[in-house]
């Protein structure tokens, strides 16, 4: 019975010119967004690979220099884009893509697309995720608002029920039929994206990508399903098609515009962050109070010197087998890194709390559940950004400490000498390995649970409501 009703809804939908126009429009947007996403991915990835290769070469080809000069010459870490970011750019456009790595300083990631683009980017990008999260639900609303109201208005509901089907069976048939129609619109774009991802040489396909894409598709499947169920339930409970449409559009505005903004504002108010200038000043201030490699008069610097003299059983710096300045640099770096990490952790914890609030809002609003899930699977969420930031900082710290060690090994009078150019070619260059799915999955449990809860509750409660709807 359900199959017959589903088939009827599917065929009727396909033959409805209004739906045909809307779905062709949405499909065209999806395909365009996929192709634009791929072109954008390719351009940015090539730019970043080229830039990373160039700065790596420049770093390795430095002439004979003092190690500390090399540490200040520094390098850059460019964040590679994740393959699935062609579908969902997440926060990528607003976070930076490159970080300057140098001694004593933990620089923030800069050069975001938003910084380099006009203000139009702030209105949101036309990505596949944008179309899937905001426009496909609108299509579903226009598709389903008359699911029951039109049947009632035309009297076909009574005719259907007089054949011996229940309201629940009618509802499931409709949900299944509409779901097929939605799949017909969305599948070509996702199939194109999958084809691009698995055949494009610029993408590193693998089990992780397959798993991410599978979950991505499943996540959106659940999202669309619950919107279809919700729309059918609203249609069953409203007296007229007009009332159903207005109600559903109201829910869309509330869920896709008002609640996300309100949650973001609430998060920012409840968990305020320090400004970058404020944090830099605090880090600098706290680092100054510790051992400073450039300040031999510092108390802790003096203590280090005394400890070294004692360790090597000498009475002057000149007799030390190691460069005191190099070891002071290393100690200073260790201390400033510790200070930075503390501030960085506190700042990230604040962002995490803000993001968590939005994630919890997914229990109230499915849009706020699919958004973090989509970004997380696409590798373009805040967590993936922080992962890169930390990888860059780990590399910077290890590089600088290795250079400090080279300086320390040069012994007293190192400032007058240089190390051979071949030394820099032995140092590792920055390479970044994005985290696997199993790393991000625990962070996505809440949005996954929220979506499943919505789908389960709507199916159970909504269908119970429908089965109790008066027919006459």
């Amino acid at each position: 019975m359900m199959d017959s009703i589903a088939q009827k809804e599917f065929v009727s939908t396909l033959r409805d010119r209004r739906f045909a126009v809307l779905s062709v429009l949405v499909l065209a947007l999806l395909l365009a967004a996929t192709l634009v996403g791929r072109a954008s991915y390719r351009t940015l990835q090539q730019e970043r690979q080229l830039a990373q290769g160039t700065v790596n070469e420049q770093f390795r080809n430095q002439p004979a220099r003092h190690p500390h000069r090399v540490a200040h010459y520094g390098s850059f870490a460019f964040r590679p884009k994740s393959g699935l970011s062609l579908l969902d750019t997440g926060v990528d456009s607003f976070t930076g893509s490159a970080v300057y790595l140098e001694a004593h300083q933990q620089n923030s990631v800069n050069f975001s697309q938003a910084q380099q683009s006009g203000s139009l980017l702030r209105f949101g990008e036309m990505t596949v995720a944008f179309v899937l999260q905001l426009l496909v639900p609108l299509l579903i609303i226009f598709l389903c608002f008359g699911a029951f109201t039109q049947e009632r208005e035309t009297g076909t509901l009574k005719l259907l029920l007089s054949q011996g089907v229940t309201l629940r069976q009618v509802a499931w048939g409709k949900i299944w039929g509409y779901s097929q129609a939605v799949a017909l619109v969305v599948t070509p774009a996702l199939a194109l994206a999958a084809a691009l991802l698995f055949t494009g040489e610029e993408f590193s396909s693998g089990v992780d990508l397959v798993a991410r894409l599978t979950l991505f598709v499943l996540g959106y499947g659940v999202y669309f399903f619950l919107i279809v169920v919700g729309a059918v339930v609203v249609s069953a409970k409203q007296a007229s098609s007009r009332a159903a449409l207005v109600t559903l559009l109201g829910f869309w505005i509330l869920g896709c515009i008002i609640l996300p903004k309100a949650t973001a504002n609430l998060g920012a108010s409840l968990y305020p962050t320090t400004t970058k200038a404020q944090m830099d000043a605090e880090v600098h201030e706290e680092a100054q109070h510790g051992i400073n490699g450039h300040d031999p008069q510092d108390k802790r610097s003096a203590e280090l010197k005394a400890a070294l003299l004692k360790k090597y059983g000498v009475d002057t710096e000149e007799k030390l087998p190691v460069s005191l300045a190099g070891l002071q640099m290393a100690a200073g770096e260790e201390y400033s890194a510790k200070v930075y990490q503390q501030h960085f952790a506190a700042l990230n914890a604040t962002y995490e709390r803000q993001n968590r609030l939005s994630d919890w809002a997914g229990l109230l609003n499915p849009y706020q559940a699919i958004r973090p899930l989509s970004m997380g699977l696409a590798g373009s969420d805040f967590a993936h950004y922080v992962h890169f930031q930390q990888a860059a900082e780990t590399y910077r710290y290890n590089l600088v400490q290795r250079l400090n060690q080279l300086q320390a090994d040069m012994g007293y009078g190192d400032k007058e000498r240089r190390l051979d150019a071949s030394t820099w070619r032995q140092l590792p260059v920055f390479t970044y390995q994005a985290p696997p799915l199993r790393w991000v999955l625990p962070q996505l449990l809440l949005p996954i649970m929220a979506l499943l809860l919505w789908a389960g509750l709507l199916s159970w409660l909504g269908l119970r409501l429908i089965s109790k709807t008066p027919v006459a």
Partner: protein, 235 residues
């Protein structure tokens, strides 16, 4: 005598209105019972109660001996319903509409059989594969009849079935009812059409403010007497 449709003290109270005040009615197989009455007299409520679309406040409705409120799905195996406006699904053809409703009733027909049902109901063969959105009201009504016939129901419940039909279509409809009645199908028809009721009905019942105020065999009345009787109760 075994009745295919029976109402025992059937009452229906809506929030602000008593729609049916203790209806007692028995209809035998092959009988065509026409319910006459003004809008709001309780005709549609009676049909809805027999269909199980509304639950009675008191009393009970029976179809083929089964209480409707207790067996809401089972009783539908014996019923076919034709509403006043048979709108159907405009994006499907007449054939597809019939196939859908028949499959929901548990009947799977071949395309040839479906065409036969539709043409027997009076739909021109060239219209069978056209979308219902292009049909006239009469053509849609014929698909509705085909749906009812294809269900092989023991009882037909009709709500103003000839309303808006042209005389030819109305005549064809009467002819069909007579044929079904002769095959043992019971018909309960709510209508304003006194003359159609006289023409096809075996009995007429006049409803007023939720009560069945008079029941007469049509054979005992001519059309004018029936009209006079109807007008008497309406004033």
């Amino acid at each position: 005598m075994t009745y295919i449709l029976e109402a025992k003290d059937l009452r229906k109270q809506y929030a602000d209105k008593l729609a049916l005040r203790g209806l007692n009615l028995q209809i035998a197989p092959g009988e065509v019972f026409c319910l006459l009455g003004q809008n709001g007299a309780g005709k549609s409520t009676t049909l809805n109660l027999f269909l199980g679309f509304v639950l009675p406040t008191a009393g009970a409705a029976f179809v083929n001996g089964l209480e409707v409120a207790v067996n809401p799905l089972k009783i539908k195996e014996h019923l076919a319903y034709i509403p006043e406006q048979v709108m159907l699904y405009p994006h499907l053809t007449g054939l597809e509409n019939l196939a859908l409703f028949s499959s929901l009733a548990g009947y799977k027909y071949s395309p040839t059989e479906l065409v036969e049902y539709l043409t027997e109901a009076g739909l021109p063969v060239e219209a069978v594969r056209r979308r219902v959105g292009t049909y006239s009201k009469g053509m849609r009504q014929k698909v509705g009849i085909a749906i009812a016939v294809a269900k092989h129901a023991k009882v037909l419940l009709l709500d103003e079935p000839t309303s808006g039909l042209d005389p030819k279509a109305s005549n064809e409809f009467s002819e069909l009812l007579r044929r079904l009645s002769s095959q043992g199908t019971a018909v309960l028809m709510a209508t304003h059409d006194i003359f159609r009721a006289k023409e096809v009905g075996t009995r007429v019942g006049i409803m007023r403010e939720g009560e069945l105020v008079d029941v007469r065999p049509t054979a005992a009345l001519n059309a004018q007497e029936l009209e006079q009787l109807y007008l008497t109760y309406m004033h």
